[in-house]
Subunit: 187 residues, 2 copies
DNA sequence: CAATTCATACCAACTGGATAGTATGCAATA
DNA sequence: TATTGCATACTATCCAGTTGGTATGAATTG
């Protein structure tokens, strides 16, 4: 029941927003009552925190698997971009909530989320630095800013990417990584 | 007074969110009363619409100026990316509201905003196609998806770019456009 | 084995506070 | 004196969270 509440909440929060979705809306969508909700969650914000943690923890876990692999930096970069885009199929609604509704968490809770978000980004930055050191990437790279660029392109896809559309997640990832690695300039 | 109300609303909406900011909060921040607000706006949503229109119309106008110039596609691409990032100084709060609070507009109003957002994107896509035709950009480019990548990297910057930080808007734009044009791969 | 206790999982009704929007009033100004 | 630019007071509604339950089944005990 707790999972059911969370799943339905994610759908409703995505469509209508956190503040715009009442507990009543959530429990009505399942056919239970508010008592049930407060049996599983102590507050609406705790539910939101669960959603945030579910999203970011999954991403970090997947990233760790990729980084622990014994592959080139280029390949790892592709894997991370691909993972972010393919994750839209799995967690697209949660992604929207994560970036849109973060302001509804109090400072304490934010202090648990923000470092995880930063960790994910800094891992990419480190990957770039490793690639610069081993000669895979250009030596004159500003890895800090470039990381924001790569993650921006990838993360932004939750705004437009349709997992059931004509382009697959893999195609998009390939196009993105080719742009990032080789550029769009004609030779 | 109308501009003052709008400006203060933008600041409050950015910090607390649209639904979380009451009309009372807005008028209190200026020291007037709700009567004043409803003298200038017929509803809270109309104010939000004004903010959305102000943001997107400004972007389209700036983009038009860039595209009408007689410069290369590469230069125009740089100008657009630079414009988007430097715009954070001017309209950063409105940008956050634009992408975060769009769901608070009704269908009629959304139907006026979404085409403008699409227009901006399609203009970039056309710029890429022009560049492909005239040989500035690679012929095998998927301009549709690459456009999403470029705009993603640029737009995402409102999440992290600090106009008063160490990197200037111009530096970020230069790093982004170099990544987009030349790629990060070592030769 | 039968009675009792107890935790689990839910339900229904209510409260207190907040909030968008309205109706009306009033002073300055043009 | 009519309009502009506000202020005041009010209404109707909504909603998070609380309180006090009930049904069920499993474990405990006499």
């Amino acid at each position: 029941m707790k999972d059911k509440l969370t799943e339905h909440s994610i759908n409703l929060f995505e469509k209508k927003g956190f503040k715009e979705t009442s507990i009543q809306d959530i429990v009505d969508s399942i056919g239970v009552t508010k008592g049930t909700f407060y049996y599983y969650f102590s507050s609406k914000e705790e539910l939101l925190m669960d959603i945030h943690l579910g999203y970011i923890n999954y991403l970090i876990e997947q990233q760790r698997k990729i980084l622990d692999d014994n592959r080139s930096c280029k390949e790892k970069l592709f894997d991370i971009v691909y993972m972010l885009i393919s994750n839209i199929k799995i967690q697209g609604s949660a992604a929207k909530i994560f970036f849109r509704e973060m302001k509804n968490l109090n400072e304490e809770r934010l202090a648990l989320i923000v470092p995880k978000r930063d960790e994910f980004r800094l891992n990419v930055e480190k990957l770039l630095n490793d690639g610069i050191e081993n000669g895979e990437f250009r030596a004159d790279l500003n890895s800090h800013i470039v990381t924001f660029g790569i993650l921006g392109a990838s993360n932004w896809s939750y705004h437009w990417f349709n997992p059931n559309g004509v382009s697959t997640d893999r195609e998009v990832a390939e196009i993105f990584v080719e742009m990032i690695l080789e550029g769009i300039q004609a030779n």
